[in-house]
Amino acid sequence: MQTLTLAAILLLLSSFAFRLGRKRAFAVSAHEPRSLHSLPGYYGSWVALWCGLPAFAVLIAWLALEPTLVRELVITDLPAAMQTLPAERIDILINEVRNAAQGHATANPDLAAAAEHYNRLRQVSFAAVTAISVAIALAGAAFAYRRVQPALRARPRVESSITVFLVASSTVAIFTTIGIVLSLLFEALRFFQMVGFTDFLFGLNWSPQMSTRSDQVGSSGAFGMIPLFTGTMLISLISMVVALPLGLFSAIYMSEYAQPRVRAVAKPALEILAGIPTVVFGFFAVITVAPLIHSAGEMIGLSVASESALAAGFVMGITLIPLISSLSDDVITAVPHSLREGAFGLGATRSECIRQVVLPAALPGIVGGVLLAVSRAIGETMIVVMAAGLSAKLTFNPLEAVTTVTVQIVTLLVGDTEFDSPKTLAAFALGLMLFAITLALNVVALHIVQKYREKYD
């Protein structure tokens, strides 16, 4: 809250600076704006930038560094016995200190003292950053204000700083990717120091829960991702079995046959289906579909697990219908009209034209779309978290419960997380695999689709 107030103050200062700068420009031009190099507003903006940018830079730097700094200072002030604790215990202590600092009582007097220290530190650091940033803002404004002259090239200067902002924004995407790769790699490497890479990649056993209690037998845990991988594949396969025919045929019917009236209903319906959050589908799978499949199985004498791969895969398939349908629709309509005419001109019926000419021509595009859908299915999380099982079983029976990569990532990280146990780090290793697989699928799919588009452009 304090920080927001400070930010508001800095903004206010900048807007004052803008007015001052503009006024100054009028003044130095002897109220003859044509003698200025740029419009007076640009002089105002220039002064405002000098006022706001450095000050905000200080504020942001402080926001990024303050928590770490205060934390370190608090730790050095803790009793020596506490300082030698392992890192994750210190994390817990610091959390307790923070809670105490916010007014929750703590039983430990050392921590209470630390909390007081913590609050004091924060107050001091905030006072410091307020003083510094406001001073810098004023200094910047004064500096720029004094340099306002008719010959000052205000517009190019303001514009170049905007351009810098534009360029910087466009690199955010790159930094996001780098951030993803680095954070996954970094934690995954720590994981691979504890668990062998090949054990992880080719192990047939996944039971991370064992490792939490180090005094137990089998405390090493088992981190073989093959069962997770097969589970993911099984559910993705089921979903594609549902989504591919339904999506493809929907697209064909809508682009080739449907009356405008049907299209007016079906198209928005599919769009709604695409817009429904997956958590809703997860709930639907648990509450409606899974019991239905379970009792249907009972009726024909099959034992179906209540968290069967079938239920999760089926519902996931429903969520993928709109994706497949819209991608197929794109590629089908991209097939040139002349090909259809050629087929019709020879006396083909509509379905013959579609099956024998349009679909083969659209095939690469459809394959690309299917790959995108598979990548989506592999990365899909909520439906499987809610509707698929937790135990990693190496099976291809759709009636049994299997678990997936994403389910394990979520279960490993939700709840108390200790950042040194292989259990937690395994989630990052799985994340890395997930990222690599989906990335590869996407690159291939986009490449295929691109090639296809070029062919008919």
Binding site: L246, A266, I276, P277, T278, R355, T406, I409, V410
Partner: protein, 433 residues
């Protein structure tokens, strides 16, 4: 020669005719397959929405029972001091129990007391406390009040769980069912609009649980998302579409954006956990972090939509402005951006709608905590709507099923309205040149 032409032609015509029926049957079959696929897909949507509404509409109602309460001075304020602290800590639950016992069963053993209190929500005591602290004059009087029923009773009244006397596994035991029948006969139960659901935060007791905390959390998260992703997205789109030279670097950025758009959202959650929480030590469970992660997730959507909108602005407008001596930035700021803005806004709203429904990455950054308080700032721990749905969906109490479904209905309502705005925007500003 003519005869020869005639004969081949007749032969062709005959052969074609012979196969025609079969081919048209195949045609009809194919068409039916297509129609079937559409009907099935739309049918799934109908079943999904139908089952949510069917399970959830009762969540907007709550059951209350009429109980005559004696505001017994001996219980509330035995000393007669009317000290606010005493009034605040008095055992109002005892008043509720006494009122129930007086109405339904004179027996006073522990089992009876337990059965009786199980019919009323613990919130009833809070209700009495609020009344007494507001008006201490009530003490000593009697009043018939509508008290919030417990979730078990609520489920039975709404017919969500079977109410067969004598059957095993009932939510209420036979004696409680008897009392309920008694109350109903005397019209001492009623169903009213469930305001708690829209004003309260989360709770372990289903009848006291509400979505307001999650709605506020979602609002804070989306506000952060919008503040971060909109300027960044528009700036990136403008740069790539209007200024960027075509070279390896911009090509790399483009490939990057396309790939980011398809990275599973749970991976963004891992990024948030590793960077925002572990490196920058931002608060766990806070909408601030959630908003930042969601901003990264919907950034590609906004950029891609923004570039499409910019592409749709005809070059003639840029040339016209350039011809008047406008600088490249002025061309964009004065002419291109205003024209492209509706398209960009549409893309942004759709991105926001996606962010509103996003769940998995928020689990990664600890937004699954059980939080009762309504968050006051983006730094307070908070739930968001989809995560609240996830949490309730995993709760064992039967009454949370209808609460979950009701929350889903609210979420979908938000999503539908956002999409409507997007559609209206798109319609209104569709190609003005």
């Amino acid at each position: 020669m003519t005869e020869m032409i005639q004969t081949t032609a007749t032969r062709t015509a005959e052969t074609v005719a012979a196969r025609l029926n079969r081919r048209y049957t195949a045609e009809r079959r194919f068409r039916a397959l297509g129609l079937g696929a559409i009907l099935l897909s739309v049918g799934f949507l109908a079943v999904l929405l139908g089952s949510i509404v069917d399970k959830g509409w009762t969540g907007f109602l709550q059951t209350q029972i009429a109980v005559e309460i004696a505001f017994d001075p001996q219980v509330i304020d035995p000393e007669g001091t009317r000290d606010p602290a005493t009034l605040d800590t008095a055992d109002y639950a005892a008043l509720v129990r006494a009122g129930m016992a007086a109405r339904l069963s004179p027996e006073a053993d522990r089992a009876t007391r337990r059965d009786l209190s199980a019919l009323v929500s613990t919130m009833a005591a809070d209700q009495l406390r609020a009344m007494v602290t507001a008006d201490p004059a009530l003490i000593g009087s009697r009043a018939t009040l509508w008290l919030l029923a417990s979730d078990k009773l609520d489920m039975v009244v709404k017919g969500q769980v079977p109410r067969q006397v004598g059957a095993a596994g009932n939510a209420l035991n036979d004696r409680q069912l008897g009392w309920l029948a008694d109350l109903e006969q005397a019209h001492q139960t009623r169903k009213t609009f469930n305001t708690t659901f829209f004003t309260a935060g989360d709770s372990r007791a289903p009848e006291q649980a509400g979505i307001w905390g999650a709605v506020v959390g979602s609002f804070f998260s989306l506000a952060i998302t919008l503040l971060v992703s909109f300027p960044l997205g528009v700036a990136t789109a403008v740069y790539l579409e209007e200024f960027a030279p075509i070279n390896r670097w911009t090509n790399l950025i483009e490939v990057n954006i396309n790939n980011l758009a398809a990275v599973p959202s749970v991976v963004f959650g891992l990024l948030g956990l590793a960077v925002f929480l572990n490196v920058f030590h931002m608060p766990r469970s806070a909408p601030l972090v959630g908003g930042l992660v969601l901003a990264l997730i919907c950034l590609p959507t906004i950029i891609i939509a923004g570039r499409a909108a910019l592409k749709a602005v005809p070059p003639s407008i840029r040339q016209a402005a350039a011809g008047l001596g406008a600088s490249p930035l002025q061309i964009v700021a004065h002419h291109v951006l205003p024209l492209a803005m509706p398209g960009m806004l549409t893309g942004t709203i759709l991105g926001m709608a996606r962010a509103l429904g996003e769940t998995a990455p928020l689990l990664m950054i600890g937004m699954v905590a059980f939080i009762v308080d309504i968050p006051k700032s983006p730094l307070d721990p908070s739930a968001v709507l989809p995560v609240q749905i996830y949490l309730w969906a995993g709760s064992p109490e039967r009454a949370f099923v209808e609460k979950t479904s009701a929350a889903i209905m609210v979420l979908l309502l938000f999503l539908v309205s956002m999409n409507m705005v997007a559609i209206v925007l798109r319609k209104k500003f569709e190609r003005r040149w």
